[in-house]
Amino acid sequence: MGAFGGHDGRERRWTGLDKLESRNRAPRSLLVALVLASVTLVTLDVSGGASSPLEPARRAVGEAFGPAESAAAAAVRPFTSVPAWFRSKGDLADEVRDLEASNADLRSQVELAGFDRNRLEQYDGLTTAAADLGSALVPARVVAVGSRQSQSFTVTIDAGSAAGVGPDMTVVNNDGLVGRVLRVTRSTATVLLIVDPDSTVGGRVGSSMEIGFVNGSGSLRQEAGLDLRLVDDATVPARDDTVVTWGSTSGPYEPGVPIGRITEVYSSLREASQRAVVEPFVDFSSLDVVGVMVPSGSTSDRALVEADGTLR
């Protein structure tokens, strides 16, 4: 390390611009060495895949940065609520109008309840299936968000292996599916959001029970949505249908978690398949409190929310 601070005497400082210039310039060899080191790291990480030799390094850096990120997020949190204090009467009037509109909307839906009963039964079945699985939720808060420059949609949450969280567990919030846990440290976990272009979730259309795959679109905007491709090309998904996850308890996503609502359907002649746009229920740009689904009865450093709503 000492070599990099190398400077051969201060008297040479005034001997001429050209020498200063030459000292100023980085040696090409160092640049080449560092670029090659970067390329080596990339190669190691790409070829290693899930068992990459850099995974221990990630874990170590995560252990160091996790508590710092949690502390910083906790320090910032009181200030993020400040804008809510400055709401004008106009804002409140707007909100009342919106609520009245949604109330009327809900009332009309109740009047159509008979029509929707069939669908409701299926949803009920799905939710009881989720309850039967006996999952509990580990509550956690988002403490760090990956930047768009890094091109991956990941967040850090403040629950880790000490809270009973492990890789491939499902992360939800009160609206629906958020993503899955990629890797954990003792006190934090990294979560891959379902809007990430790399993310694929097994999805099931609520009314027809058809299965397909939901891919991330790579945008935080809710209306940009997710892509749904059905396995069976012959069926056309209906608009406004709800998409929930299908899967197994061993897979990364627990079954029966609501993902989103179908807003548009395209049929692609070239690929002879149906493509639907799913608007996620979760607003990913303002993600805060989330829950990680863990097996019921697992040990944790905090209170778990059980399937029946009790705290333990």
Binding site: M1, A3, F4, G5, G6, H7, R13, L17, L20, R23, N24, R25, A26, P27, L31, L34, V35, A37, S38, V39, T40, L41, V42, L44, D45, V46, L54, A57, R58, V61, G62, F65, G66, A68, E69, A72, A73, V76, V143, A144, V145, G146, S147, R148, Q149, S150, Q151, S152, F153, T154, V155, T156, T188, V191, P197, D198, G218, S219, R221, S285
Partner: protein, 170 residues
């Protein structure tokens, strides 16, 4: 003195990284945040000798690659920051850079680093985003970094200058 300077530089990178992932997402524009780690590297490249800045760029990039919530292939930010530090170090002259020169260097370094990261993603076949999305990200990132320059660069440059008196450029 070198050890002290390394300590200060690493501390600056750690603080920058934590602020970048924990504070700025609340202010982000479509998820794009200012790259404060890059500002630390540019500040070093503008004040202290180039080899230090180059290695600091590599270390800062690697930290950004490994620290949560990063999930991309490690080494991509390290490569981008090394090249940005190399270019920024070439800009430096024998006197203290003017304010315009600092802003220009930050803008160029930000453009180069973000573009290099995006290009490495295309080479690695990462299904990141469309070209239009990439352009948006690169340009907004440049604007963010330039906006933060007056608040971040002067104190850091003063710190690095004080820790390397042989190279005081006042």
């Amino acid at each position: 003195m070198t050890y002290l300077r390394w300590l200060a530089a690493i501390a600056a990178v750690v603080v920058a990284l934590v602020v970048q992932v924990s504070l700025f997402p609340h202010l982000a524009w479509h998820g794009i945040v200012p790259n404060i780690c890059l500002l630390v590297v540019v500040a070093a490249a503008l004040t202290v000798e180039a080899p230090f800045a180059l290695v600091l760029g590599f270390v800062a990039g690697l930290t950004l690659d490994l620290a949560p919530p990063a999930d991309h292939v490690a080494g991509r930010w390290a490569l981008a920051f090394t090249i940005a530090a190399f270019l920024a170090a070439r800009v430096r002259q024998d006197q203290k850079p003017s304010a315009m020169a600092v802003v220009g260097t930050v803008a160029a370094a930000s453009f180069v680093a973000t573009s290099f990261f995006a290009l490495s993603g295309i080479l690695l076949d990462d299904p990141g985003m469309s070209v239009a999305g990439l352009l948006e990200v690169v340009l907004v990132a440049v604007v963010w970094d330039v906006l933060l320059t007056p608040f971040v660069l002067p104190p850091l440059m003063r710190l690095f200058t004080r820790l390397s008196p042989q190279w005081a450029t006042t």
